[in-house]
């Protein structure tokens, strides 16, 4: 991984570190006076403090990322520290040296105390405690200071040069230092990188805390590995084209708004872009060696491309503006990422934050500087599973809902078709209507399918795909929702035959019928009465209620408290009298509400006033034989049903009988007002026709016979007087001759003996 070259170089650097670096910088403008002697102390004496500081920082950063917010001084560059440690690890440098050498892009503050102690200014050369002597000599060349070092210093620190806090506004010309590998310009006022293009062996360039506005002048430094440009005024990442060996790039504390021109840095391990103005992170491909990416304190809302970084292990996103995991979802695809921070983002405030992150990034070992424990991982997966389940459940629910909707649509369509057909065949519609739809469902299905796409258009794609599996050809729907039993389509009536649990049956107080012919409903009312004894509220929608007399059928129920008849598909509601008729006919239920309106006493009186006479006429003036026949029908019907279904259970049967008796007892005067469904009525008419035919023949025969007898009788009556006279005359003639008659009589007597 690490180029051996670099290691050896660092090794050499290490050797020289302990030696002081004595530079003499001469400014050309201030020849003698300004001859300042610096002492860059790289001595061991200063090390412990620095090291301590570093350790502190390191711990600090690893323990508490937030700490930085509390003291966000530009001096505190946690990013640099991590880089430091990183480099330390990577390069395998001796700890101390690494610290010292890299502290430059670490924290200035760490050095400040000792440094300031050492030198207060450029010109006031502090007491030579020990170390380097640098002479800045103002050169003859305009405005560029020329740097010279004494030869012994050169020998001592042949490959390093430190020009910290020299109040430099430009880069000095560094002559004769071609072997320089490490150059430090920390804490100056340099606005432009220049005059260093000759230092082609430079490996380490530190320009921390200057005023550089553009990255430039680096194109010749091909061996540069560490470039520290923290706390400058850079707006754009550019001109790094030739720095192919760059290992560490620190650009923290600048004004960069966009990640760009870094795709060729395939050896880059550390990239620090903390405290910039980034709002979106992407364009990261090509950074194949990047292991650490620091993006703290930006305004980032979304991160992309992270999954294109094969070596990325640490990613710091603290103090940004990330509010949802979707915006950083690429993180889940990174297999190498083991350490991530999100603290100080809106997302970290969410309750789902931790488990969502952990669930999506199974490879994570540290989150917000804390080790991810197995427990947490497990919790996360549990929570995630639950969430998944919830999601699936809701999906299922919506699927069901959708299916319900579709089914109802289907039923409605079918109903419409049926109604239209009914209108087209006005005569004899009753029979055909109920039969034909079930027999030819094909055209109905066809229309359903054709209408399908537009109907589901509003749904998300997942639902659509799932829905395609659904059969939309369902012709009916039964739904129990709380206390409401809803039946859609005539097929749903069959559900009343089902074995409902006692609990369900007891709970249902509202029964709603939609898209069912009322006549079909009438036929199941006895079942309804038995299966759902607590049903109090009946709802009818699209049930073809057209006549007042249809309400008669409801009288056979046990109890009805509320009745709702939707005007849709029930023309009867348009009648002014329907409500009163219902009240009148179902008065034994003492109904409370009709179509949601409270029934008042006045309504009851009105109902009685309007229809009371009808009931009276029906009850008192109906000849008894008719009464028997009418009441007999209902009783017979009930009996028939009981024989069919519950005949085996004598207990219930007798109870039923009692019930019906009680019912008829309750409203004798309107029991005669009952409703027979059209089918049934037609059947009855047929029956009557048959009987009539027979009666006609029978009476005809009888009457003919009677008239014949009558005729004979009349004829006899006509003949009788004449016959009588004739008879008398014969008798008189016979007895006219007394003697002969006597003789004859005597003769007869003797003959008899």
């Amino acid at each position: 991984m690490i180029p051996g070259k670099y290691r050896s170089v660092s090794g050499r650097a290490t050797n020289n570190v302990n030696c002081g670096l004595h530079l003499v910088i001469q400014t050309s403008s201030l020849p003698e006076k300004n001859k300042v002697e610096f002492k860059l102390n790289k001595e061991t004496s200063s090390f412990p403090g620095r090291l301590l500081q570093h350790d502190l920082e390191r711990n600090y950063s690893s323990r508490q990322g937030d700490g930085r917010v509390i003291s966000p001084s530009p001096r505190n560059k946690s990013s640099c520290i991590s880089s430091t440690t990183n480099v330390t690890e990577l390069c395998g440098l001796e700890m101390k040296t690494a610290m010292s050498s890299l502290s430059a892009f670490g924290d200035s503050s760490t050095q400040t105390p000792s440094k300031s102690r050492m030198r207060q200014g450029c010109h006031s050369a502090g007491p030579n405690v020990s170390g380097d002597h640098i002479n800045l000599v103002s050169s003859s060349m305009p405005s560029f200071p020329i740097l010279q070092r004494s030869s012994e210093e050169k020998i001592l620190y042949s490959d390093r040069l430190t020009l910290e806090r020299q109040k430099l506004t430009v880069c000095p010309i560094i002559d004769g230092e071609e072997h320089l590998r490490l150059l430090n310009f920390q804490h100056n006022f340099i606005t432009r990188i220049q005059n260093i293009s000759n230092l082609q062996r430079l490996i380490f360039l530190d320009l921390y805390d200057n005023q550089i506005e553009e990255i430039s002048g680096l194109s010749t430094l091909r061996s540069l590995r560490v470039l520290l440009l923290g706390k400058n005024r850079i707006r754009k990442i550019s001109n790094l084209e030739n720095l192919k060996n760059l290992d560490v790039l620190d650009l923290h504390g600048n004004q960069i708004t966009k990640v760009e021109n870094v795709n060729h840095l395939c050896d880059l391990r550390v990239l620090n872009l903390a405290r910039n103005l980034l709002s979106h992170v992407d364009n990261l491909n090509g950074l194949d060696s990047l292991t650490e990416l620091n993006l703290r304190h930006n305004q980032i809302t979304s991160v992309r491309d992270v999954d294109n970084l094969p070596c990325l292990q640490r990613l710091f996103l603290s103090f940004n503006n990330i509010s949802s995991f979707e915006n950083v979802s690429c993180l889940a695809d990174s297999s190498s990422l083991s350490d991530i921070t999100f603290d100080g983002n809106p997302i970290a405030q969410e309750s789902w934050y931790k488990h969502t992150i952990l669930q999506n990034m199974m490879q994570l070992r540290q989150l917000d500087m804390k080790r991810v424990t197995e427990e947490e991982r497990r919790m996360a997966s549990v929570v995630a599973k639950k969430e998944e389940e919830k999601k699936r459940e809701s999906h299922k629910q919506s699927l069901l809902k959708e299916k319900k909707r579709l089914t109802i649509n289907n039923v409605a369509r079918k109903w419409d078709l049926q109604q239209n057909r009914g209108a087209n065949i006005p005569t004899n519609q009753d029979r055909k209507d109920s039969d034909s739809p079930s027999q030819d469902p094909c055209p109905i299905d066809g229309s359903t399918i054709s209408a399908f796409p537009e109907e589901t258009g509003s749904l998300d794609s997942g639902l659509i795909s799932a829905l395609q599996g659904l059969s939309v050809t369902d012709t009916h729907l039964v739904e129990v929702d709380g206390d409401t039993l809803s039946l859609y389509g005539s097929g749903a009536l069959e559900s009343l035959d089902r074995n409902w649990s006692v609990q369900t049956a007891g709970m249902v107080t509202t029964v709603s019928f939609s898209f069912i012919e009322f006549d079909e409903i009438v036929q199941v009312l006895p079942k309804l009465k038995i299966k759902f004894p607590n049903s109090l509220h009946l709802k009818f929608k699209e049930t073809n209620l057209v006549m007042l007399q249809q309400f008669n059928a409801l009288a056979q129920l046990r109890r009805v408290d509320q009745l709702t008849v939707d005007p849709q598909g029930n023309p009867v509601v348009n009648f002014t009298l329907w409500k009163y008729y219902v009240l009148f006919r179902l008065s034994h239920f003492s109904m409370q509400k009709i179509n949601g309106t409270e029934v008042t006493q006045n309504d009851m009186i009105m109902a009685e006033r309007l229809f009371g006479i009808l009931a009276h006429v029906a009850s008192s003036e109906l000849p008894q034989y008719r009464m028997i026949s009418i009441l007999g029908d209902t009783r017979k019907k009930q009996f028939q049903y009981l024989l069919e279904t519950k005949g085996k259970k004598p207990g219930i049967t007798s109870e039923e009988n009692n019930d019906s008796k009680r019912l008829t007892g309750e409203n004798t005067n309107r029991a005669t007002l009952n409703y027979t469904t059209r089918d049934f009525y037609n059947e009855k008419l047929e029956e009557i026709k048959e009987k009539k035919k027979f009666c006609k023949m029978y009476i005809e025969d009888l009457v003919k016979e009677a008239t014949e007898i009558n005729m004979k009788n009349e004829a006899l009556q006509k003949l009788w007087p004449q016959m009588f006279i004739e008879l008398v005359r014969d008798a008189v003639i016979e007895i006219r001759n007394k003697n002969s008659y006597m003789k004859l009589c005597l003769q007869q007597i003797t003959d008899q003996k």
Binding site: L577, H588, M604, I605, L614, L622, P623, G632
Partner: protein, 331 residues
């Protein structure tokens, strides 16, 4: 007993013509239908009851339409039953649509055909605006004519059409056929300008029809009276005139005069008695008769969904009169 009619016909025909056979057949039919129940309380009793109910006109209640229209007596009985049962609806002053009247009819006769109701409504509404509201009395009298004389009216319609189209109705053999035709030709020319047919010619045809018609038809004298008042008339004009004619109503004998249409003291008494029995009724109703009137009249106009009492333009004068009369008669 032995009316001349009786002697003029053979027994069987006589029985058939007087619909005795119809009732006998029906009686046996009814007997057949409920033989178990009836045999329990006696067949003689049954026949007694049956023919009593026929006399009283209660035999048609809730019967099938084919029976109800079978005899003139049945028709009259049905008209009377309808009037008695739903007089209260008219008394309340409500105007109803044709469909609603039809529903009321169906309460008494479940298979009452819509066609007949429609035709009756057409008489009231003059063949248009079938959704209009009608007053009870208007509808009832129109319905009476339409229902009782339905076959007759069909024939009249045919004659009317024939007359309109200018040819001599082939169903009618007019004695003065040649002169009739002569008179018709100019009438045709006028017909394009004037509506309807000439009354006198129309009457001639109708008179002829009445003579031959085996179904019941209105007394020719009254028809003449109706037609004599006008020069020309339309078919519906004729029907309206028929329906509003007192004499015809009286001749029919099913309904009271228009003025007395809302009068039925016996039934009103019965109703008051029933109102007392309304389940959970307040005492106030039974306490004061005014109170019982008040709630029934006020609520529908205030809070209930009853439609405001708009009169359709055509029935305006008539229905207003009738409702006012009701109000007066009630108080």
């Amino acid at each position: 007993m032995l009316s001349p009619e009786r002697l003029a016909l053979p027994d069987y025909e006589y029985l058939a013509q007087q619909h005795v056979l119809t009732y006998m057949e029906d009686a046996v039919c009814q007997l057949l239908e409920n033989k178990e129940d009836i045999s329990q309380y006696g067949i003689a009793r049954f026949f007694t009851e049956y023919f009593n109910s026929v006399c009283q006109g209660t035999h048609i209640l809730f019967r099938e339409f084919s029976f109800i229209q079978a005899t003139p007596h049945n028709r009259a009985s049905f008209l009377r039953a309808f009037w008695r049962c739903f007089r209260t609806v008219g008394k309340n002053g409500d105007l109803l649509t044709m469909k609603e009247y039809h529903c009321l009819l169906q309460l008494l006769c479940p298979d009452f055909p819509l066609e007949l109701t429609q035709k009756a409504a057409r008489i009231v509404l003059m063949d248009d605006a079938m959704d209009c509201l009608m007053s009870f009395s208007d509808f009832l009298f129109a319905f009476q004519i339409q229902f009782y004389y339905s076959e007759f009216l069909e024939s009249v319609a045919a004659i009317y059409q024939d007359l309109l189209s200018g040819k001599n109705p082939n169903t009618v053999i007019v004695p003065t056929s040649s002169s009739g035709q002569h008179r018709q030709r100019p009438a045709l020319g006028e017909a394009s300008m004037l509506e309807g047919v000439e009354a006198s010619l129309f009457y001639q045809c109708l008179e002829n029809l009445c003579d031959r018609h085996k179904y019941s038809c209105p007394p020719p004298a009254l028809v003449k009276e109706v037609l004599s008042n006008v020069q020309r008339l339309t078919f519906y004009g004729f029907l309206v005139a028929l329906s509003k004619h007192h004499g015809i109503n009286q001749a029919l004998g099913a309904l009271p005069d228009k003025g007395d249409l809302m009068h039925d003291p016996a039934m009103d008494e019965e109703l008051e008695r029933l109102l007392v029995q309304v389940p959970g009724l307040v005492n106030s109703v039974s306490a004061s008769p005014e109170a019982s009137c008040l709630p029934s009249r006020t609520p529908p106009r205030v809070a209930s969904p009853w439609r405001p009492l708009h009169h359709s333009r055509k029935v305006d004068a008539e229905s207003d009169g009738s409702t006012e009369e009701t109000d007066e008669s009630e108080t």
